[in-house]
Amino acid sequence: LTGEQILDSLLQQLHLRQAPVLDRADVEGLAIPAHVRAQYLALLQHSRRDRSRGK
């Protein structure tokens, strides 16, 4: 698993052509809302529990 593979998958998911260039100022002080964090944690637990068929 390479960084390039992760980047490709991320771009595909977000329908982007290239990685956005964000300034530190853009994300500094950016709070992650509780519902976003809860969604993330739920997916994290789900991915640790469930298996999906690969190739």
Binding site: L1, G3, I6, L7, S9, L10, Q13, L14, A19, P20, L22, D23, R24, D26, V27, L30, I32, P33, V36, R37, Q39, Y40, L43, L44, H46, S47, R48, D50, R51, S52, R53, G54, K55
Partner: protein
């Protein structure tokens, strides 16, 4: 026909032919084809039938040769059904590509070559079942971190760490996670015995691949309308849960869901 089988010793096969039509018909256009379909037929507890499509191919009516239908997935699934299990019933049906005169007797257009005894009158579809003992031919689970990886290492799942913070493109974009424990499939797989690889050259070598995977969730920052906000995304197949040995184009030997 069975080979290499330990656990299938008790399996016996039976061929049933349902001859539905007796009408004669002519073979006209040179390009006439018939569709041969293999279905798995299961009888429900209430006596009704359920069929599942396994494979289907168009066969030229003016050619002769072997056509192979891969029923591995159905056999694997059937093998994992609880006991007592029904016999595995594979339904072979033949339909003309285009409906018209003679469509009802299309099954007579495709002949199955006689097997076994030479000079046999009625050919039968042949099921070849080859099993591999995964103790020898499968993957070994997780790699031993104490043992260095060599050419002879048997297929296993090796732990690695992906550091997203160290990747320039991820800077200020990926908010969570900063990194994660991932796995990769490494090592080699025992190849099929010579006679089998000769018989199915299209299968290709058995390789150590990820057979079960899970998604990797992330929180990324996205810009919309001049504002930056966090968003959850899930990247499929990023976490390797299990490695297996499999040939390209062949189903991976693992648990199947109904």
């Amino acid at each position: 026909r069975f080979s290499l089988s330990q656990s299938f010793r008790e399996v016996v096969g039976k061929f049933l032919l349902s001859d539905a039509a007796l009408r004669r018909h002519g073979l006209s256009p040179r390009h006439a084809r018939a569709r041969v379909t293999i279905e798995w037929l299961r009888v429900r507890e209430d006596g009704s039938n359920r069929t599942s499509l396994i494979d289907s191919k168009l066969v030229s009516l003016h050619e002769s040769g072997w056509k192979t239908f891969d029923v591995t997935e159905a056999v694997t699934f059937w093998q994992q059904l609880g006991q007592p299990r029904q016999p595995l019933l594979l339904l072979v049906s033949v339909h003309r590509e285009h409906l018209g005169p003679g469509a009802s007797s299309a099954h007579k257009l495709v002949r199955f070559a006689p097997q076994g005894e030479p000079g046999g009158v009625q050919g039968e579809p042949q099921l070849e079942l080859h099993t591999l003992d995964l103790k020898d031919y499968g993957a070994q689970g997780n790699c031993d971190p104490e043992v260095p990886l060599t050419e002879g290492t048997r297929c296993c799942r090796q732990e690695m760490f992906v550091d997203l913070q160290g990747m320039k493109w991820a800077e200020n974009w990926i908010l969570e996670p900063p990194g994660f424990v991932a796995h990769e499939c490494v090592g080699s797989c025992r190849q099929l015995p010579e006679p089998l690889s000769f018989k199915w050259p299209f299968l290709g070598p058995r390789r150590c691949i990820a057979s079960e995977t899970a998604a990797l969730p992330m929180i990324v920052s996205i810009q919309e309308g001049g504002r930056t906000r966090p968003r959850v995304v899930s990247l499929p197949n990023m976490r390797v849960k299990q490695c297996s040995c499999a040939s390209d184009g062949a189903p991976v030997p693992s648990r199947l869901e109904p």
